[in-house]
Symmetry: C2
Subunit: 421 residues, 2 copies
């Protein structure tokens, strides 16, 4: 069974927005045991949308189209697909009443063009939208005119805004998919997440021990991110669970503490979990990462139980006043130095009364580098009750990448320290 996702919007072609729907929809489908065979994005012009829907219905039994259901003049998906499938549009009075209520409740007059959102192709299922104005639509295409075998297909149209699309997908599209296309066999996709080791080395360590399983049908994939390598296992059939579990055990044995989690585990969540289990607390003092690490930690629900607070000390004055870094240290070693990082971490730990404190000082760039301290120079300090550790990587990247990688190194320093003690 094939599923295809089509995202419409000229803003995607112009590179004005990031297409996050693809990942989100694919992840939901994967977790439910379905696999997407293709993702396509096209401009919101008539010929492009009709052409890709025609092609997708010829290949896939379930096609999801996003975008173009809104109230403005470039929202054409509903009309174009109805025309392609030879369906007339009618006004759905229930939707129209809801639209009028939506605006009335907000004390606003309904803009005239909003009416088009109550138009429904004959025979389509209406998917309610409690979070916006445009309802979704599901159409059974039977017989399917774009397949030689005429096999029935389903075409689902979803609104573009994420907070409208997501609940609509979960509450209506997934149940429809499960009802129309029940799963034939078990499918497991498991990701083992590692850090501090390169992609080639990971493969060298695990490929041979896993060979009996891959020979028997287990699929193995690798994906490198900043400072992380994911190993992906795909197993199918009656033995899927057993095969995936055996593979995971081998990978954990081979890679040891390089494995920091599975599936969607993030280093920030792993750290919050480790600290919560140990009833220990963290404080942060950031210069060049400018709040990135605090933001990552507080992205984790429940972080407030272990994260006492953070200081973003961009200026020397802030480093002195808020963290107690000494004027002598700053004068002698500079703001970007092991000595300053150490005093920042120890100052943050003391002032916040935390068990651990991470401090980061460096030169993110593009400006500010010197001959002895080029752009990318970083000092990361971790203060604990017994010792203060200092790392000195050189991260020569663009500004956002610099923040990401530096944060990853700081969190990994803390994680290793936590799992060792």
């Amino acid at each position: 069974m094939n599923i295809e996702i089509i995202n419409t919007g000229s803003e995607l072609m112009f590179g004005l927005v990031l297409n996050t729907h693809q990942q989100w929809l694919c992840r939901q489908l994967t977790d439910a045991g379905y696999t997407v065979s293709r993702q396509t994005a096209v401009p919101d012009t008539g010929p492009a949308i009709q052409q890709i829907v025609r092609e997708a219905l010829a290949r896939a039994e379930f096609v999801i189209v996003t975008g173009g259901l809104g109230p403005t003049s470039d929202d054409l998906t509903r009309d174009l697909i109805a025309a392609l499938l030879g369906k007339k549009l009618h006004t759905d009075e229930a939707i129209l009443t809801r639209l009028k209520d939506f605006f009335a409740q907000r004390g606003r007059t309904m803009p005239e063009h909003t009416h088009v959102q109550a138009q429904v192709p004959d025979g389509a299922l209406v998917l309610p939208n409690p979070n916006g104005t445009a309802p979704g639509l599901a159409m059974k295409v039977s017989p399917n005119p774009f397949r030689p075998d005429g096999k029935t297909g389903w075409l689902v149209m979803l609104p573009g805004p994420p907070r409208e699309l997501k609940p609509m997908f979960t509450d209506h599209v997934l149940p429809l998919l499960r009802q129309k296309f029940p799963l034939a066999s078990t499918f497991i996709c498991r990701t083992i997440r590692t850090t501090g080791i390169g992609e080639s080395i990971v493969e060298e360590k695990i490929a041979a021990p896993l060979k009996p399983l891959t020979d028997a049908g287990l699929e193995l994939g690798y994906c490198a991110h900043y400072g992380e390598v994911d190993v992906r296992l795909v197993a199918r059939g009656a033995d899927a669970e057993k095969s995936a579990a055996a593979a995971e055990a081998i990978i954990r044995e081979q890679l040891g503490t390089h494995v920091f989690g599975t599936q969607d585990d993030q280093l920030n969540a792993v750290i919050v979990r480790l600290l919560t289990e140990r009833k220990e607390t963290l404080a942060l003092a950031e210069s060049c990462t400018g709040g990135y690490v605090a933001n990552r930690i507080t992205d984790v629900p429940g972080a407030s139980a272990v994260f006492l607070g953070g200081l973003v000390t961009y200026s020397n004055e802030a480093k002195q006043n808020l963290l107690g870094v000494s004027a002598e240290t700053l004068a002698e070693h500079g703001a970007v130095s092991a000595a300053t990082a150490r005093e920042m971490a120890e100052g943050a730990r003391k002032r916040m009364g935390s068990d651990y404190a991470l401090a980061i000082t460096g030169i993110a760039g593009p400006g500010g580098g010197t001959e002895t301290k080029p752009v990318g120079t970083v000092f990361i300090a971790l203060a604990t009750a017994r010792h203060t550790f200092v790392l000195n990587p050189v991260n020569r990247f663009d500004r956002p990448t610099f923040k990401q990688i530096t944060c990853q190194q700081a969190l990994e320093l803390l994680r290793r320290t936590l799992v060792k003690h």
Copy 2:
């Protein structure tokens, strides 16, 4: 002329990673005057890659394929495309030497499988990769066997890692594209960015005044993000610059201070620019946004000139010790209150010695809500020399969206205050 982008990788189909290449490549091409007609992502299996390359070469004159050039066993793009186009692979000695040097310089032995990255299809151009091991490849497809007219196409293969792909695209692919497909006529794509106004209202205000221009061929599009609506103008031909300028003037007149920038302008960069021009400074005190606002401000190069520092005060103790919020205020009104937000902002302004201070306290959720202060309750305070302003929106969203929208509101409060004075 048609350009298509193909991203390969089963991790995309499983929703394990976000496809950021699409946006980046499309944006670069748009800025250079080219338009992408379709983006496709497929799994890294042989049939899927060969099928989409065949289709894309039948439709487009320039096809960019990303991913699958690495050293592991699921990196098949090079081999599959060579086979599809009937080309043999040979070992490129210059690449092999570079690979060996790459590992030698890092004091590592070259893993055996890395050799495949020195394989080049006969007749292909090699695109150097100073940031990694896999070089890119460009192949002239002439005559093009997938088009009835046999018209020459170009197929470019780029490595997946962003910091390898990006410079390779800029330094080698764009010059190749410009040389082989020089632009026929002027093309302008301009985005006018607005905030604090809905998509329908934007269209109601500007569509009629712009009608003479749109009737004459100007294309108009709308794109709503969190708290922002972009208006996109596309103009072509000899009058493109004049037409786009006239349209922008009309939009600015109709929307006034709702317009905060153009093109890639971000609210954070606008604020750093405004503060820099006025030689004024900012401090931050964040509770529920947990460093998100500080991170956004410090994403802007040069932020250090205007941003003195930020405090992430998750605990009540930190609010008292670091910001001087009074115990009475916390006891009487609670940590999430207008009074606490006000004292946080005024405390941050005083302790950091800044001209402005933004403070944010609220309940991000999913836990922590009460009957009188449900999840999503936020207080945003802006302290200035003359007055402290407090906003009290209710942002009922998931945790990451909550942070984004709350940050947007805080930055917009500051921007409006700056442009009014």
